[in-house]
Structures are given as structure tokens and as C-alpha cells.
């Protein structure tokens, strides 16, 4: 084994169960998160093969994708969604898996409640049948999304056969300016390296700007790793990480905590360790970003413009043409002149308490534009309670935002929260793909502050010039 190892290499080595000749290495999985959409066929597979869930203590389920965000207790009118939720309830009962159900005070988006409950810890391998599992890498864990066949594999064996990914370091020098947050950093990175810039790689985010991020901001950054094509995104654990994890319900306690911190302190990448690829980003060059197209790499500073066609050729040109046609935008249009109809503040990217605080700070004392419908969807029941305790919901409601129950909601519109054809939305979610938020809907990805400001202005506006009240 090499002397100088990266965080990823240490994690990989520590979780190798077997390296059979001529086969993919077998990796142990410490924590498996499960939700209603990608699991029913996996449980069916177990049943068909007469297999059990190997480690129920390492398997945790919740319902998030399909759940309505109307007040809890409102019946689910979508019969197929209701059936899928029932299937998870039945499967968890049959296989002995812990479920944070619709009526649980701990229900929430799977990537929000894992960290919140202290289930997510440094040094863990974490998987979930959801691409945004990369979120958990913020803790210095190796966390990645898998498909349903692999969900079944992990349920049955607590292991995965995986080819070893390559490593990529993204070094963010300097400091982020006021009004420029983790979401802008993520969009700036994807804009620079592209939506396939990190395919086949595990990213480690490093540098002064990353060290300066809170845990919630780190989660936002790691969450978007998949939008650059990465297998996972990671940040080495440090005092910020430990302070966040300490005291949470499933975090180690007492002597176990001390031992855990000792081992977590050994995880950071060794001085002199080599990465397969390195990218440098200058934090000072970043501004609030707005996506203009149909993937997260199609992005411009809020002070910028939609691209002109003249500068493009080949497949870039045709992709841009298709995107602008879908988005109903003319080449060269100023971003700040793009008017919006809807605002969505939520999703596993930006629905945590700091996100809500940032949005509320912008919304305080203002009114949502009369032509805009805006909603705030907290990531979990715990966040909803905390926000209500701080009075954030009052600020939103007074400003004319809707204040909803927790879930994935309009990030992917599997529940009734969707855009109508042609509606344009400023969204704090992670994907602006065609139809993602509803057929014909036009999504622009932004930070929570930028979304709140757009709700009030009725169009995109530079939050760095905002008149806070």
C-alpha cells in the first residue's frame, strides 16, 4: 500500500471485504438508506429468491419522493403513489427494516434525515437507490447512488461488487463573497467542468473556501457532485464535521465518541497523495449563478446573458439550440430580464435550516410578486419544527410564500407539486432537465437567496444588491 493515500483510498481500503481474482472488488456497506420509489422491485427480488435483509440495523427507510406536501393526514389521491408507499410499509414490516413513515416526527428527504439523525458519520460507506446520495460525502463518508438491482444486492449481502473509481481533487482557493454560497460554487464547478466532467471519478473538495463552509453548505456542494457526473463527492472530516455530528441521536456517545473521533482524524488525505485529476477554482471569481438551459452545466452569472449562437459549433450548438427552444429563451438575453412564474425552495440540495434562514433573510419585509406563486418545502419534519420555532414560517407566510410539509416535492414532481406547461420556475433543486418539474415546465437552478429574491422581484436579480429589511 502506498505511503500517501487520499481520503477516498483510505475509505476504499478499509471497506474491502474481498478482492477475487478477475472480478470486481467486494465492498462492505455501512449504511443503506431506502425510499419508496427504487425499492419495491428489490424487495420482490429478495422474496423470489427466499433471501433476507442481511443487516437490518444498517438499513433505514423513509418515504419522501411521492408524499404530498399538503397537511399530513390529507389522503393521497394518486392511487399508484399510495400503492408504492404501502408497498414500502409492507416490505419494511416483513423484512424488519426501520421505517420513518409519513406520520413520523422524523420523516423527511432521505438525504436530509440521514445526517440530521446522526446516521451519517465520517468514514462510512453509504448507499441509497438515489443519485443524490453523494450528499453524505460532506461528512467524509464514501456515499453514492445505486440502481434497484444494487439495492437488492446490498439488502441481501450488505456488500456491493464495485469497480474502483478514479480520484479527482477540486481545490477551491480563496473565499466566497457575500451572497455567493455553496450552490453557486457547485453550479460554477459544473459550468466549468461540464455535466460529464467527473464521470468515473470520486471528487474530493478541498481548499480554503471548502474548509470555511458549514456542514449544511458542504452537503449542498457534495449533493451536486452527481450533476458533474461524479461517482461521489467527499470532504475530509474536521472540527466542523465533529461539532455537527456530536450529540445526534444515532451518533456515538461517551467513550465510543472519543474513539470514533480518533479514527475519523486519520481519514484526511495525506500530504503528497496523488489524484488522477486536479481542478482549481478561484472562489473570488464566482458570483450568484442561474442556469439557462436543460442541464446544470448550462449556467451563467446572474449579471450575464444567455449564450449567443455565433460562438458555438457542432454538438454544443445543437444542444444549446434545443435547450433554448425548450426554455423559450432568445440567445443573448440578459439573465436579469428573465421573468418567472413559480419559485420552489426545497429539495435535498437546499431545504435545510440554513437554506431557509438565508431565503427568509431576503424575504423579510417584502412581498412575493403578484404574478409569482412561491412555495417553501422544508427537507424534514425536524427542519419544519425548527423553522417554526424561529418564526421563519411567519416571514415566508407574511411575504406570500406557501409553507408546506416535508418531502422531495417539486424537485422531481412525483407528488402533486408540479409546473404547468410553459411555466418558468426559479428552483433551489438540482436538475433543470426537460420536464423534470412537470411536462413543459422551465426550470432555472439557483441558490435559496436568489430564489427568494426572484420571487419578490418577479425576475432574476442579483442578491448582492438586495435591500435587506
Amino acid at each position: 500500500m502506498a505511503e500517501h493515500r487520499t481520503l477516498f483510498e483510505k475509505m476504499w481500503g478499509a471497506h474491502l471485504v474481498a478482492e477475487p481474482a478477475g472480478r470486481s472488488p467486494i465492498l462492505y456497506i455501512d449504511l443503506h438508506l431506502v425510499h419508496e420509489v427504487t425499492s419495491p422491485q428489490a424487495f420482490d427480488g429478495l422474496r423470489a429468491a427466499g433471501r433476507k435483509v442481511r443487516q437490518t440495523a444498517r438499513t433505514v427507510a423513509t418515504v419522501d419522493h411521492n408524499v404530498p406536501t399538503e397537511p399530513r393526514g390529507t389522503p393521497i389521491t394518486d392511487a399508484i403513489a399510495a400503492k408504492q408507499i404501502e408497498a414500502l410499509q409492507k416490505n419494511c414490516k416483513e423484512f424488519g427494516v426501520r421505517l420513518f413513515d409519513m406520520d413520523s416526527p422524523d420523516q423527511g428527504i432521505v438525504h436530509v434525515i440521514g445526517p440530521e439523525l446522526g446516521l451519517t458519520q465520517p468514514g462510512m460507506t453509504i448507499v441509497c437507490g438515489d443519485s443524490h446520495t453523494s450528499t453524505h460525502g460532506a461528512f467524509g463518508s464514501l456515499a453514492f447512488g445505486i440502481g434497484t438491482s444494487e439495492v437488492e444486492h446490498v439488502l441481501a449481502t450488505q456488500c456491493l461488487a464495485q469497480q474502483k473509481p478514479k480520484t479527482m481533487k477540486i481545490e477551491v482557493r480563496g473565499k466566497l463573497a457575500q451572497g455567493v454560497g455553496a450552490k453557486d460554487l457547485a453550479l460554477g464547478i459544473i459550468g466549468q467542468i461540464g455535466t460529464d466532467g467527473a464521470t468515473g471519478h470520486v471528487i474530493e473538495y478541498a481548499g480554503e473556501a471548502v474548509r470555511g463552509l458549514s456542514m449544511e453548505a458542504r452537503m449542498t456542494l457534495c449533493n451536486m457532485s452527481i450533476e458533474a457526473g461524479a461517482r461521489a463527492g467527499m470532504i475530509a472530516p474536521d472540527e466542523t464535521t465533529f461539532a455537527y455530528v456530536k450529540g445526534r441521536r444515532f451518533a456515538p456517545q461517551g467513550r465510543e465518541w472519543e474513539n470514533a473521533v480518533d479514527s475519523w482524524n486519520k481519514l484526511p488525505t495525506d500530504e503528497g497523495a496523488r489524484f488522477d485529476k486536479t481542478v482549481e477554482i478561484d472562489a473570488a471569481q464566482l458570483s450568484p449563478f442561474v442556469t439557462w438551459g436543460t442541464n446544470p452545466g448550462m449556467v451563467a452569472p446572474v449579471t450575464g446573458r444567455v449564450p449567443e449562437m455565433g460562438s458555438l459549433n457542432g454538438s454544443d450548438r445543437s444542444a444549446t439550440e434545443l435547450a433554448l427552444q425548450y426554455m423559450g429563451l432568445e440567445p443573448g438575453k440578459r439573465i436579469e430580464e428573465i421573468g418567472i412564474d413559480r419559485v420552489f425552495i426545497g429539495s435535498c440540495t437546499n431545504s435545510r435550516i440554513e437554506d431557509l434562514r438565508a431565503a427568509a433573510q431576503v424575504a423579510r419585509g417584502h412581498r412575493v410578486s403578484p404574478k409569482v406563486r412561491a412555495m417553501v418545502v422544508p427537507g424534514s419534519q425536524a427542519i419544519k419544527r425548527a423553522a417554526e420555532q424561529e418564526g421563519l414560517h411567519r416571514i415566508f407566510l407574511d411575504a406570500g410564500f406557501e409553507w408546506r410539509e416535508s418531502g422531495c416535492s417539486m424537485c422531481l414532481g412525483m407528488n402533486p407539486d408540479i409546473l404547468q406547461p410553459g411555466e418558468r420556475c426559479a428552483s433551489t433543486s438540482n436538475r433543470n432537465f426537460e420536464g423534470r418539474q412537470g411536462r413543459g415546465g422551465r426550470t432555472h437552478l439557483v441558490s435559496p437567496m436568489m430564489a427568494a429574491a426572484a420571487a419578490i422581484a418577479g425576475h432574476f436579480t442579483d442578491v448582492r444588491n438586495w435591500k435587506f429589511q
Binding site: V17, D44, Q158, Q163, D196, G229, L412, M414
Partner: protein, 203 residues
Amino acid sequence: MKPFSAHRGLVAPMERVNVDTDQIIPKQFLKRIERTGFGQFLFYDWRFGADGKKNSDFVLDQQRYQGASILVAGKNFGCGSSREHAVWALTDFGFRAVISSSFADIFANNSTKNGFLTVRLSDDEVSEIMRRASEIEGYQITVDLQQSEVSDDRGFRAKFYLDEFVRHCLLNGLDDIGLTLQHEAEIAAYEARHTHAPGLSSL
């Protein structure tokens, strides 16, 4: 899993880059709890108008591409959501393989679990197949996993690389859960060394 050895079939060209899994199978169809029946919803929002009527311009609905079993598409195919439903929709529709210059990791992984081949060729080779599939009526190619080679009967020939183990599983239709369980002793030994991750024992 259905083994994949070699397949010859009609090629449908999709001249788009970054085809994401939200397009391959839109979210409204992810609520089914079965693995089957997704083919009818493949590329739904591109294939059907908002009124539910078929858009006959869409490549897969053009007469000449009826029965296509090999898709050729631009780079970064299958990006985005981890939904395996995307692969289930492609296979249920009748596709056996997709050719592109790059694939998103999770999509590629999901494909191998379903006997569906992701064939990675160079940009130039992909463009050439795309051109032939557009220009030549009834254009067919052979994807031979045994030889790791794509060829047509007009002289096109290109090698592709797939991880040796993945190739072995596909050729033999192996169930990889069964393969992992052959390592029961090692898994049990690992678990004995790592009794429980800190804290999780209290779950």
C-alpha cells in the same frame, strides 16, 4: 439475467448529447412496483404530445426505425437520476444495446445488471454509425461481446472495451448476488472485525 453473446439488429440514431434518465423514462411512470411494462413509456415526453397523441417525427416512431434494437446516441448517455427504470424501459421496448462515446456511471452499472450492453466507442466512430444509420435504409450492425467488436457488412469495424468481470457476467448471464454470496465467509469475518459502526448498534 439473460446472457449477451452477440446481437445483430437495426440501428436507430438519436442525435442528442446528455440524454438524461428523466427523458428516457419520465417520473410519472416510476410509481409502478413491477420491473415490467415500462417500454410503452420510453422517451414518453418526446414521443407523445401533451394530448397523448404520438409524435410521428420522433426517431423511434419513424417507419424505417420500427423494430430497432440498437440505439446510437451522443455523449454522456443516461446521466442524472439513478432510476433503473430507464434500463427496464429500453429493454422492454426491444433494445439490446446502446452505443455512445460516454455513459453516466450509474446508468452503465444498471445496464450490466439487466443484460443490456453499453458500447463505448470514440466520438468519430459514434458519428460514423450515426451517419450510416441516418443515410442507409435498414442499416444493421452486429455487436459481438465475445469479440468485443462492433461491425457492419459495409466494412465498419470497431473494438470496444468493457471491464473483464462485467463482460464475463454478461456473457454468462450471471447473478452477481449469488457471486457475492460465495464470499459469505469473508463477509462474516469482516462483520466480526467491525462489530458495528459506532452508534449504529443502538438502532
